[in-house]
Amino acid sequence: MTAAISARDLRKRYGDVHAVDGVSFEVRAGEFFGLLGPNGAGKTTTLEMVEGLRRPDEGRALLLGEPSWPRNPGLLRRVGVQLQASAFFEKLTAREQIRTFASLYGVADERADAMLAEVGLAEKAGTREDRLSGGQAQRLSIACALVHDPELVFLDEPTTGLDPQARRNLWDLLRGINAAGRTVVLTTHYMDEAEVLCDRVAVMDAGRILRVGPPAELAAELEADSLEDVFLQLTGREYRE
């Protein structure tokens, strides 16, 4: 079975800064995979190269067996990307947003409306994007990423800024997405979230991957109590911008 993601020796330099300095990892089909790291660790650039938003200086990424760069519309149909909750068309209602995104993939309005109901926003269908709560906006942006029923989904900090209820609620949604057979790649700053949701996590810092493995194994290996301790042991305690 082809790996959902196969990244080989990805590198990206901005001037003298090695934002990503030789990253390789694999995500198996159906896996819930977490990419963790402090700010500036190179997570975003790594994901952008994997998704096909940026061209790697070196190395290459295969999604579902196909290279993500150059842009490949056939591949894009099979992949869903949630960019932080602000990627909405201005002044449109939740229903209009998801129908617009659906049309880009040739998906019918009915399916878009059903997706909206699936994330629990049926009652908010007529609400404009700027009047949705943080949790509702996150759920809408996840729905927009899932509307074309992708095999592989990227979620970028989906629970940032949410209250505990909304986070738990979203976790259930994400588990459901994964249980439906989709491969999910998640970035997050919440270690408890990664611990609960992810089958395996990769911890990154300074443009490299430090460890990859199931959260429990990493904790056992480093004799830490939790993924949070693993994270701090690996990436240090000093404050970062």
Binding site: L53, P73, V79, L104
Partner: protein, 355 residues
Amino acid sequence: MKPFASLSKAMALGLLRDRASVFFILVFPLMFLALFGALFKDAGVSRATVVQVGAVEVLDEMPPKQRAALDDVLEIDRSGNRAEALEKVRDGDADAAVWEEPGGRVQMRVSAADPVQAGNVGGVLRSIVDRASIAATGQPPAYTLTGGQVEDESLEAIQYFTPGLLGWAVAMGGVFSAALGLVNWRKKRILRRLWLAPVRAGPVICARLGVNMLLAFAQTAIFLLVATVPYYGLRLTGDWWLVIPLVACGSLAFVSVGFAIGAWAKTEDAANGLAQIVVLPMAFLSGSFFPLDAAPPWVRSISEALPLKHLVQAMQDVLTRGGSWSDALPAMGIMLLTAAVFTALAHRLFRWDAT
């Protein structure tokens, strides 16, 4: 729905639901038309004011038809008091005072303040007195003068302002909405999101263009409707409908300019500022607000280089001066060339990401 249709709908709704942009693009230029049209409605030499003291036979007994023609050039006020009437002339409130003395002697006093107007009044009154004298002899006049009107090549205010302000409105709508729309989509990461969707650039660009063209047609329709109400009195000439392809080409050109600005600008403020710097001076130098006939040659040569000038000129020709394809085609060519140049520039400057 197809991506083109759904993106057009998304853009149109986003635009129409934003009251500020509706005002800015549709209402604001219309306000200028309403205002300028009203302000300069009666521009030209105004009627002369004459104060008539007491009864003056040659004026009072004029046939109604002649009297109506006279009212086009003279406004005749009545006064019972000669001293008061002369005072009005002295103060410049009236151009002349007339009264009749026994024996059919009509007396006139004019103001020295405005010799041209005084000469007009004198000429008109003299001809009235002469005609009455000839009529009094009972003889047919030895000579007669028959007059008629020719179509004036110069433009009345509304004939001038309608195409001028419409050109400005089309340019402003195109540049601003394309520039701000692009920056906004980049900032909100919609460009990234589109990059990651299986949609080509064509439908996205065409959607923006289509929405803008519809907007420009709406502007054109509203402008023509307002300008042709009797109060403003715009008279459209023969092939006025050529304004439609002209507006379409103009919209294409100015949306491209907007794309280039939006591709370059990192923030909405920068895009707004640059668009302002481009559109407003261009409108002034293209004769959108006032004629450039009296402008120095160097101003006119700058003006020749501006696409808006050619659009305004061609719209003026087809809307109000009986122009046809031969006036419209060169301007359309210039618009399409402008579009090509700025689209290429936008393509070079384009970034889908702010970083």
